[in-house]
């Protein structure tokens, strides 16, 4: 166990943030994987949800932040593959900020109270942080950048909700399976 020193850096936490950032990048680079039959979905937002449920609020948000800083610096790590500073001045900028806040909220809800992940709390966390929070930040930015009325921007994003709900189910299944396969993954460091 690490000794408790306030403000001291836990290098294992740092390594987990680095590795999870890489996982999110790899999930974005992987081509859409068919789920439940033949509907392919990109798994990058799944990575964002898992960052929250596995790493917790602060470390999960940090992992997402690291991916986005690398994207801004010019690496094509977003699904597509897209990257470069341009994505942060376009309509998708709000969703990218939403990912960071979303991962934090997911971690805060999913990991509240107990160390052991509970399936219904994981699912609620992913719906609130992974869908509600991300859309709440993403839609107003789409509206501001494209000069569309807020309601129109909101309606046009509804097309992505079924895919996102599917990702909530998958993120919950994976989180529970990971707990059974490798409980050490959920080790709580500081924060």
């Amino acid at each position: 166990m690490t000794t408790r020193r306030p403000a001291a850096l836990d290098l294992r936490d740092l390594a987990r943030i680095v590795v999870f950032a890489a996982i999110i990048a790899v999930l974005g680079l992987a081509p859409g994987i068919p789920v439940f039959g033949s509907v392919p979905i990109t798994s990058q937002t799944l990575g964002v949800m898992l960052a929250g449920t596995v790493l917790g609020a602060w470390r999960g948000a940090a992992a997402v932040l690291v991916v986005e800083v690398l994207v801004a610096l010019g690496l094509p790590l977003l699904a597509g593959p897209r990257g470069g500073a341009g994505v942060f001045v376009g309509p998708s900028a709000g969703y990218l900020i939403g990912w960071i806040v979303g991962a934090f909220v997911i971690g805060a809800i999913a990991r509240a109270g107990s160390r052991r992940p509970v399936w219904w709390r994981t699912a609620i966390a992913c719906v609130v942080g992974g869908i509600l929070v991300i859309y709440a930040i993403g839609i107003p930015v789409v509206s501001a950048v494209t000069h569309l009325p807020l309601a129109t921007a909101a309606i046009s994003s509804l097309a992505f909700v079924p895919g996102d709900l599917l990702k909530v189910v998958i993120a919950t299944l994976i989180t529970q399976a990971l707990w059974r396969a490798y409980p050490a993954a959920f080790r709580r460091g500081r924060a």
């Binding site: 850096l9 740092l14 590795v19 996982i23 898992l50 690291v66 010019g74 129109t152 994976i174 396969a181």
Partner: protein, 198 residues
């Protein structure tokens, strides 16, 4: 790692990363504050063409970047044409596209390590408040070297499942990927501690 960087020796390539990013930020802010007129749009597009020409990126690269943004243009332009005067709709869309193309020019002409260094230098002031810019640089560089490692795990898992004739499913792919990756993270943390990183 394949970055978006294109090799070249033009003035934009030679300009240091820090000043280049600052210059871009100022131009982007100015463009977004100007009124949506055809004059603004003409100036913005002329600036984009000039930047790509001076940087030696050429018309082909400009065309490629425009083609990449085609859906963005459609998504932005069509609804605006319905609710706004055509000139305003076109100017608004052109403004965003110009800023995105300029951002792409910065990305295309700047090496990622140079940007990481500039980020570290730019964060120098945070030391006074307990920030650690060197650590930020380390995390970014470590992540870049870790991505191929995790991508390697993903390939191994896919090949192992294909060899057993297992059908590819998201859960059976991601769970082993997470286990292998997080084990790797613990090794990485120990290695960092052994090297006295703080």
């Amino acid at each position: 790692m394949i970055a978006l960087y294109r090799t070249g020796t033009g003035p934009l390539h030679r300009l240091a990363a820090g000043p280049k990013l600052l210059l871009f930020a100022v131009i982007a802010l100015t463009l977004s504050l100007l009124a949506p007129t055809l004059w603004m749009l003409g100036a913005a597009l002329a600036l984009v063409v000039a930047v790509y020409a001076v940087a030696g990126l050429g018309a082909r690269e400009l065309g490629r970047q425009l083609w990449t943004s085609r859906w963005l243009i459609v998504i932005m332009l069509v609804p605006q044409l319905i609710v706004l005067p055509p000139v305003v709709a076109v100017a608004n869309t052109g403004r965003v596209v110009a800023i995105i193309l300029l951002a792409a020019a910065v990305t295309l002409t700047t090496r990622v390590p140079a940007v990481i260094e500039a980020t570290e230098r730019g964060l120098g002031w945070t030391r006074r408040f307990g920030g650690n810019p060197a650590l930020v640089g380390l995390v970014l560089a470590l992540t870049i070297t870790t991505i191929p490692v995790i991508a390697g795990f993903a390939t191994v898992i896919r090949e192992a499942q294909a060899a057993r004739g297992a059908r590819m499913r998201l859960t059976t792919f991601v769970v082993p990927l997470l286990v292998m990756s997080l084990r790797h993270a613990d090794d990485l943390g120990d290695a960092l501690a052994a090297r006295g990183v703080e």
